[in-house]
Symmetry: C2
Subunit: 203 residues, 2 copies
DNA sequence: GCGCGCTGATGACATTAGTCATCGCGAAGC
DNA sequence: GCTTCGCGATGACTAATGTCATCAGCGCGC
């Protein structure tokens, strides 16, 4: 042992951030060296504090926790990333895996799991919420990258003409792609496609 | 003073529930007599424990915190209700007001506000998050009840024909209503209307 | 009791959205 | 080298959406 585990905590909700920070600080082997409310603050805190572990939520203003994880991975930063989130979405887990995060736990789990996961991640283990390890992959998105781009536009209410101009496509092409998306999702119109994709985290 | 404030805590996310419960339990004047992960459990806990205050999240499986608040209000239960939630949505606050809740605070606020709000609510004060007291009403939904019903169907991807049959309307009527909704929201199609309404909490 | 807003309805019309067949190009995969 | 797949495009359809004008009953406010 070389001293307590140095942790940066990123979580946008003030109460949850405060509560986690206070509880973790009660653990003798854990030292919360900084907290952040946004992804950008989290990155800055990691640069300044060089912690052992970044404990981060996903949904935060500006950069998300997944964006931060991807950025740290790109920089080959030695800090391990432990994602703690509400969302048991396959898409999130996929992106987390791509960013090589060290752990992914759900806020649904008991609070004791948090410090436990932190210690295991610090020890070099990989910690994935068991509900996800199984469930994530049979929900894998059948969409291609381009189809996802398109669907993202659909989800904010863009018309085919708008999508065509934003994505530099012919309008007919947009119609065709969307037709394929509808078939893959097994739905009958764009609005249902948007609702379904949102629900399954395929946006 | 007749002893500590007896609190029932309802919150679906295990980690957040655990963290809040542990922190509140550290306060000498607060006694967490029960915790619940669903609205139904919360109701049951209030019946059994007869607490001074029910501290509850809104979004929970089954019955929401707002449903529970409305039910307790209907029963003229003496327990005061303090809503603590992520969502600064006008619609939620409106429904909370209708259920005569004693307080409404945001998880965005610092953790110290939680125990503070709890004490003030117990003392008979009404505590509303300042961001909301102002903001909620200028975002008030311009939609009528029926229009909201319709939009809820639209948001899950129903076609006009489906909406017509589910709501017992003529299809032409559905088209007209939707047209009015689109005009009120200042959008150009149903998918954008769904996205906008979801974002503003008007569903 | 008159007006207004909500609800519900028709019908005609213009515009979008969605389907299908078919094509070209390039990059993998075996 | 041939096939498969992703990407992008036309064109010709059909079906679904959205717009507008117009009407009628009901309840509420003043």
């Amino acid at each position: 042992m070389t001293g307590p585990i140095r942790v940066v905590l990123a979580e946008d909700q003030g109460m949850v951030r405060g509560a986690f920070a206070e509880l973790l600080a009660l653990q003798p082997d854990i030292d919360v060296v900084a907290t952040a409310a946004t992804g950008d603050d989290a990155l800055r805190a990691v640069e300044e504090q060089r912690p052992d572990v970044l404990l981060t939520d996903i949904e935060m203003p500006g950069r998300t926790g997944l964006d931060v994880a991807a950025e740290l991975h790109r920089r080959a930063d030695p800090a391990k990333v432990l994602i703690v989130t509400t969302f048991a979405r396959g898409g999130y887990l996929r992106r987390a895996m791509e960013a090589e995060v060290a752990g992914y736990v759900l806020k649904d789990a008991p609070i004791a799991d948090l410090a436990d996961a932190l210690r295991r991640v610090h020890a070099g283990e990989r910690v994935i919420a068991p509900e996800l390890a199984m469930a994530a992959w049979d929900h894998a998105s059948p969409l291609t990258d381009r189809e996802r781009d398109l669907l993202a536009e659909v989800a904010v209410g863009a018309s085919n003409a708008e999508i065509a101009s934003r994505l530099h496509l012919a309008e007919g092409t947009v119609r065709n792609y969307l037709s394929a998306v509808l078939a893959k999702l097994g739905v009958r119109n764009r609005t249902e496609a948007a609702a379904t994709a949102r629900e399954r985290g395929w946006l």
